[in-house]
Symmetry: D2
Subunit: 141 residues, 4 copies
Amino acid sequence: MPLRFTIAELQNFLVDVFPQVIDDFVIEVLDDDMTRVRMKISDKHLRPGGTVSGPSMFTLADCAMYMAVLARIGPQALAVTTNCSIDFMRKPVANTDIIAECRIHKLGRVLAVGDALIYSDGLAVPVARASLTYSIPPVAG
Amino acid sequence: MPLRFTIAELQNFLVDVFPQVIDDFVIEVLDDDMTRVRMKISDKHLRPGGTVSGPSMFTLADCAMYMAVLARIGPQALAVTTNCSIDFMRKPVANTDIIAECRIHKLGRVLAVGDALIYSDGLAVPVARASLTYSIPPVAG
Amino acid sequence: MPLRFTIAELQNFLVDVFPQVIDDFVIEVLDDDMTRVRMKISDKHLRPGGTVSGPSMFTLADCAMYMAVLARIGPQALAVTTNCSIDFMRKPVANTDIIAECRIHKLGRVLAVGDALIYSDGLAVPVARASLTYSIPPVAG
Amino acid sequence: MPLRFTIAELQNFLVDVFPQVIDDFVIEVLDDDMTRVRMKISDKHLRPGGTVSGPSMFTLADCAMYMAVLARIGPQALAVTTNCSIDFMRKPVANTDIIAECRIHKLGRVLAVGDALIYSDGLAVPVARASLTYSIPPVAG
């Protein structure tokens, strides 16, 4: 499925959709196989001791996969997350950015499904994994 | 399993563990069957149009179930979320508090498992459901 | 949402849809709040030692929730399972029937979502819990 | 983590653990990165029309990942599935073997977590994806 956005176009588009959070994200890779998104970690993402919080990892997984889907279905459609199953596997590195690598397994007429691996920047093994499903509403004629 | 905290004791204890978010939560019910926790919605929880964000619902499910587990295992143990599967089923009511009702199905030596239903305040049907698993580390002797 | 089948009608209808497995199931309760389905355990469901297998518990959760959905959408629609998240919490009682209690949280135009608790017959605490999503295809005109 | 079994050793070992189902499986690849397992489809795995059933896909995901974990922890430990989240994405090819490709993301002291993609033999895109968690009991001294 062809990509309908460049990284710059997608990042700009999302300023309108996610104004509260888009400044936290940098889209690093957007190609046919994989979408990689960095979340710039600041105090609001941390628990005592500098640990990146679970909700921050969830937010990254959700937003990064949303970007991967949106890049394929284009700006007129508004995908909605319907399910996320996330496993927290290791303690993230303190005070360190986290990075999601997303792959889409299905992009259907009604549902899109993909997987994300979440890494602490510089760590070779993932700190979390997530699978997500998006409902794609019919486009008004 | 007996409760080791009153609502007031648990709310105070969490000020130290979740200083960044505890002010958003009010524990409304804490009994053998059910734990009910309110999330006070403010601008940081909203998407354009006043919709409560998915990560906000995840945060409530995670924190409310953590409170339900902690109330039973006591302050010395530090439970860690290992899995959450969450379904987003309806659009939450705009600019309105959300409420989690949690039930624990298993509280084992190593793992705790429970379900949460998330409601918009005043709405009879849930906007989301989640199941969560916590790993309970061995207590140091 | 009104029920479109009695227990007897639903059990008969499923003989055509699930001929390979329907003889294993008995629908015990079918009402607005809850659907309860028994799985009659035989050798094919067991692991060494008489333990009911994980796939048998999955099969019960999936079929019981399918019955709960079908009872509401009627015979003309063919729902398809799109997601199941299942937690295995306790070892089932050996050589003993298992029972699912299902509740539907959402029955939308496109997706249905519900929860199932799985019990060993006679045991008060659940051995597994599952949440399931079904896609409901549009009915041909 | 080094592999403690060859394919032949693992297949033999499983005859004792899963006598009811092991004849359905062929381990095709077992290496550091990936475990690939084929499920030989017969009538018991099918729904009307020759469709491979959801419980059959679940069974393959569960058994294949179990094999991948067992190959690493060795024969003395008895891993138990604690969670599976599975997405059914496409209709499998009728009357055709299905194949799981499993990758382990974490193999800890207490929990193992991995992902499986399920394919119809000969189809390039997956028909299902699953993530699974196993609890690894302490080995008796």
